[in-house]
Subunit: 350 residues, 2 copies
DNA sequence: TGATTTTATTGGAACGTTCCAATTATGAAA
DNA sequence: TTTCATAATTGGAACGTTCCAATAAAATCA
C-alpha cells in the first residue's frame, strides 16, 4: 500500500531534511533561526517545507527546551459580557506575543476549575490567568508555587493568597458613585445585591460605607440587602426594599445586572427611575447604555484589565523569580439617567 | 548543588518509578489504565505521584500515540455576546469529553485567523471549530483536508467549502419574522443592515424576500439598505430610510445590534417604535430583552449551536473518514414590543 | 601557497512518554 | 510436586524536536 503524501502520518523535520538534501540539524536551525545558515540553504529548506506541507510540532520541541508559549485563561462566568471583554483583552496581548491561550469556563464550579487547571498544566500551559470561582480557597492554588507555574488572579481578589493580582478599584469606584448620589442630595441610600461572602461585594460595599461615613450619613442596616448577582436577584432585593416603611431615595447596586433587575422592580411598583428613585450600578456593561433610563454606573475597562493581566503574566513567566505584582485598574463614574442628575440639572437651570 | 524537590525540573514518570520501586512501564500502565496492574501496586504508584506532585506530560505522550485531546475554537467576534454564548456551549461539551480548548478571537481579520489556526495546529490541536472572519475564502481552508485535521465551520456558512457546518436557520427565521409583520398588516417593509457580501445577510434577506413574495407584497429595491452590522450602521441606515418620501411602516433588521441602532434613529426622528413604526431584529441577544421597547426578534440558541458544533467536531475527530455533516439549528420568533403586536392586540380587544 | 580564523553543516544524545516483546511471578490443573 | 496458563512486570526502541560537540567548507591573513 503506497503512502499518499501528507495523508495521515504528519511530515517531520527528517523528511524535510531528506527532501532538501540537508541534515535534520540544519532544518532545525532554520526553524528556530538560532544558528548561522547560508541564505540559499535556508530558502531551499523553507520552500521544501512549504511544498511538503510541513507543520512544526511544538509539543516535540517543548519536550527538550520547555518554553511552551501556551497560557491558560480560566473564567468563572463567560456569559457575563464583562468577562468576555476581559478575555478579549487577554487574548489580544497573548496573540501579539506569539502565545496561544487555552480557555475554560468554570461556571462558578470549583471542581471544574480544579479540573481545567490540571488539564491545562498537563498540556503544558506555562502560566494561568484565573478569575476564581466563587468559593475558591487560596490553598487550592498552592500547587502553583510548588510547581513553579506562573499564576495570576484577576477580577476577584483572593484574600490570603500572595500572588500577582489584577483587579479594578472596586472600593474607590463604589465610593465615587455613592458620593455622586450624596451630592445629589440623597440621605437614605441602600446597598443592594451580591452575597456578603463575595470579595468584590465586600470591596464595593466598603466603598459605599466609606463615602457614607465621610459625609456624615448614617447607614441603616436594613438598607443593606444581599441577593444573587443576577437580574432576578436584583428584582427581588429591590422589591423587598420597596416594601419597607421607610424607603430609601437612592440605591447603589452590586453590579449592572442587579441594577437592571432593581430598575424593573421599581418600575413594577410604579416608580419612575431617575425621578422617584435613583438607581446606580457597577461595571458599565453594554446593557447599561441601552436600558431605559440609561444606567448611571462605574466603568472599569475590562479589556484594559485583560491586557494588563496578560502582560503581567508574561512578565512573570519570563522572570519566574520576580515578586508578585498587583495592578489596580481605574474605575470612573459614568453619569447617565438613572440617578436623576440630568433631570436635576434641568430643574436647576429652568 | 542539591536539587530541591519539585522546584524547577518537573518530576517525571521515571522519578515516580524509582520512588515507588517499579519500572517506568508500570507507571505508564497505571497512568493510561491500559494493561493489567495489581491493585496494590496501582495504589502505591498513585500515592507516590501525589506525594511528589507529579503532573502528566501530555505533550510527551502525544509524541508517541497522537491523540491530543485539544481542539481550537476560532471566533470572529468575541465581543458579540452571541459568540460568547456559542463559546460557552462549545467549551461545555469539550470539557465533558475531557478535551481542552484553545480559544482565539480574530476580530474579523483573516490574517489573524490564519495565524491562530497555524499556531493551534503546531500546538497539536486535533480539530478546529471556526467561525470564519468576514472575507474568508474557502481555499484558505484547504490545508485541513490535506493535513487530515478535522475542521468545522460554524455560524457563517462558507459557500463552496464542503465541510461540516453548524449554522442557524437564517432563511426560515427571517421569513418567519417577516411573515409576522405581514400578518400585522404591514405593506411596505424594509430590510436593513449588514453588507451584501455577508453570507448571513444573503440568507436572512433571502428569507425576507421569500416571505414577501409568498404574500404577494412587492419589494421596493429602495428599501433594501446595507450597513455595517453595528449600532452606528443601523442608526445611519435607518436615518436614510426615514428621509425617504415613501417611508416603510416596518423594518426587518440584519441583527439585533443594527435593530437597536435603527430604534435609536427612529426615536430621534420623533417616532414611537412599536406604534408609529415596527422594527424587528435577529439573534435574540440579551440586549434585545432590555432595550425599550423590547425588541421583537428571532432566537437561535447560540449555546445549543455551540454544543452541537463541539459534538460534531468530536465525532469527526474520532472517525476521520466520516462524511461532512451539517446541523441547521432552529430559529424561532420572539414577539416583544417593537413590532407593535401587543398594542395591536390591545386595540383589537378594546 | 599554507596556516588560521570564521562560517556552515552534521551526527547523536537527550526530552517524557507509550508500546511491544520478553521476562518473571502467581495460581490452577495435573 | 511439576506443568501450564495467566497475570504482572519490565527493558528498550520509538515519537519529533533541540542542543552540543565535532567536523567540513569557505574566507582571511601572512
Amino acid at each position: 500500500m503506497p503512502q499518499p503524501q501528507g495523508s495521515k502520518g504528519k511530515v517531520t523535520i527528517i523528511e524535510i531534511a531528506d527532501a532538501a538534501g540537508v541534515s535534520k540539524s540544519t532544518v532545525s536551525l532554520v526553524l528556530t533561526g538560532r544558528g548561522a545558515v547560508k541564505p540559499e540553504t535556508r530558502q531551499h529548506v523553507l520552500q521544501t517545507m512549504d511544498r511538503l506541507g510541513y507543520v512544526y510540532n511544538r509539543g516535540a520541541a517543548n519536550l527538550r527546551n520547555a518554553q511552551s508559549r501556551i497560557v491558560g485563561l480560566v473564567l468563572n462566568d463567560l456569559s457575563n459580557p464583562f468577562f468576555a471583554e476581559f478575555a478579549i483583552g487577554v487574548e489580544k496581548v497573548l496573540q501579539m506575543a506569539g502565545y496561544v491561550a487555552f480557555m475554560a469556563n468554570t461556571a462558578e464550579s470549583v471542581v471544574r476549575q480544579e479540573q481545567v487547571m490540571r488539564m491545562m498544566r498537563e498540556h503544558g500551559a506555562g502560566g494561568i490567568i484565573l478569575c476564581p470561582a466563587l468559593d475558591t480557597r487560596p490553598e487550592h492554588l498552592d500547587w502553583a508555587k510548588a510547581a513553579g507555574t506562573a499564576l495570576l488572579v484577576a477580577i476577584r481578589r483572593l484574600p490570603g493568597a500572595d500572588m500577582s493580582i489584577v483587579v479594578p478599584e472596586n472600593l474607590l469606584g463604589a465610593s465615587r458613585v455613592t458620593r455622586h448620589l450624596i451630592n445629589l442630595g440623597h440621605e437614605r441610600i441602600a446597598f443592594l445585591g451580591g452575597m456578603h461572602s463575595m470579595v468584590v461585594r465586600q470591596e464595593r460595599h466598603g466603598g459605599f460605607l466609606s463615602a457614607m461615613e465621610a459625609s456624615g450619613r448614617s447607614v441603616d442596616p436594613a438598607l443593606n440587602l444581599e441577593s444573587m448577582p443576577t437580574r432576578d436577584g436584583g428584582f427581588s432585593a429591590m422589591s423587598a426594599v420597596l416594601s419597607l416603611a421607610d424607603r430609601p431615595t437612592a440605591v447603589v447596586c452590586y453590579n449592572d445586572v442587579t441594577a437592571i433587575g432593581a430598575m424593573l422592580a421599581a418600575a413594577r411598583h410604579g416608580l419612575v427611575v431617575g425621578r422617584d428613585i435613583a438607581i446606580v450600578g457597577f461595571d458599565d456593561t453594554s446593557e447599561a447604555r441601552h436600558v431605559s433610563p440609561a444606567l448611571t454606573t462605574v466603568a472599569v475597562d475590562p479589556v484594559g484589565l485583560g491586557e494588563r493581566a496578560a502582560a503581567l503574566l508574561l512578565k512573570q513567566i519570563n522572570d519566574p523569580a520576580a515578586e508578585p505584582e498587583s495592578f489596580i485598574g481605574p474605575a470612573h463614574l459614568v453619569i447617565r439617567e438613572s440617578c436623576g442628575a440630568y433631570q436635576r440639572a434641568l430643574a436647576a437651570a429652568g
